[in-house]
Subunit: 327 residues, 2 copies
Amino acid sequence: MTKTIAKELDRELQMRAALVTGAIEELLPVVHPRPLYEAGRHLVDAGGKRLRPSMLLLAAEAVGGDAAAIVAAAVSIELIHNFTLIHDDIMDNADVRRGRPAVHKLWGLSGAILAGDTLYSKAFQVLGMTKARPDLILGAMNLLSKTCTAICEGQWLDMEFEAKERVSEAEYMEMIEKKTGVLYGASAGMGALLAGAAPSVVAALDEFGRLTGMGFQLQDDVIDLITPEMVSGKRQGGDLIEAKKTLIMIHAFANDVPVKVFGKKDATPEQISESISLLEKSGCIEYARSRAEEMVQKGKLALQVLPDSKAKATLLELADYMVRRQY
Amino acid sequence: MTKTIAKELDRELQMRAALVTGAIEELLPVVHPRPLYEAGRHLVDAGGKRLRPSMLLLAAEAVGGDAAAIVAAAVSIELIHNFTLIHDDIMDNADVRRGRPAVHKLWGLSGAILAGDTLYSKAFQVLGMTKARPDLILGAMNLLSKTCTAICEGQWLDMEFEAKERVSEAEYMEMIEKKTGVLYGASAGMGALLAGAAPSVVAALDEFGRLTGMGFQLQDDVIDLITPEMVSGKRQGGDLIEAKKTLIMIHAFANDVPVKVFGKKDATPEQISESISLLEKSGCIEYARSRAEEMVQKGKLALQVLPDSKAKATLLELADYMVRRQY
């Protein structure tokens, strides 16, 4: 991706992120009981790149729809994403998210459970306010509820893997498909659906989102190893010492690459650095990177059903960005 | 209520409960990952009276609809109810529910959060499978999502009250309206809506459910004091020693009735019994009972918009049962 394209993509995404952020202010106001809504808004207001709602808006445009009319649906996706972050942070006992204390750190366990539950129902409420044909909104709701169930299954599998001695590549891919892929799939699919696209086009956009979302997750695992804390805000190699069974580690196990710091929370930075070098040299990181690239290329192919347009071009660039980003 | 009417009501409710239980088996199957769905089914399978889904089915019949066609919607209400029980038990650190260990006691905190989240999305998925006109299903989804938000607000208020020195009667009534009333309201409202009733009729059924649901909750507070543990399965006077600011206690505070065991977790059974006697003699229990009766009578008035029918008669009997039950 050349610098000019990257800059242009940045501009396109920022424009849509701003649209979504403005709509959140209107669709998720802080009302009585205020602390509940403040807890709900805590992470939402911390920003993030809003890639999912942007993908929804771009998908609608790429099928010839009016993105501005369905910005409420884009907000609903962002609320679901934030609901999962709040509950996941409780389960992972994470302290920090988006540079802020996690919700449960500020509002306690009960406050965080409820803040997440509130975003969950608000997402469906907000989706119901989308300016689209009732049957299309109902279709979007069915897609979203199915997606939320899959996300819960994905998070369950992720937790189950912690207790498992070995995880297969197929099991890992199923987990990231459900935990991360399906919400990107629903984003692109709902954008197309609400814009009135034919079922086959909706399915193609769903596949595009799902596969590029899986690529996004695989790249996240790579970033954990290659990006310094100064840039990512997260400890480099954190997944290793926490014994996360990422695709990189699954490949290392399969190829008898001895990763000394795996599961060693007291490892020194030098030891971590040594293990990362080994994973790099042995090709384990490259393996995950190439699988990520593969997912994205396959996802992009799905867009062949669409006529050329500015929005389609931006979606293709977004797909590349999802696996080429370094943080 | 005569014994014959009580028996007949029991039969009507059991018939509908059985219909709902059968549909749960089909609509919430235990699939991969099985432990997640087993956790989700744990309380659902423990039964309960299924009053909310029965009210939904009766409301549909009372407006001339086909209850069998919308049994999926009745299941969705029961799933939402169970989702709130699972998350509430985490927040209240409750050990037992429906005679079984609470979900978080068996599957841990993370398992219980996820089991609740899964029932939440499944409820919307299942509602989407209802055999009704798409615009009516969409209307029901909008009603359900609004209701879930209100339930979260109600639970937040309930928790907030624990830290408050004094709670007013108006604050208490708002809390039970949101925590308990609105889901009964949604049950009756959705039943009417999905059966194609006019908006004014839907609103009347919603009001019937909401008000009788509030009466149900007030009666719950009474039952805590008057029903022996042998019958209720809960410690008699448990709300007192746990310092719950029920309407009964709010009335006691307002009238300077000295309830010695309030907030005293180490109170003896004799001391608890003495405080209960005092609440009875001073008219505090009777005050809550009469407010409960009032809510139910007002709720029943809302049904005047309906023509007479077997289902309407059963709804009226159900309303009486909600505040006359002793456990």
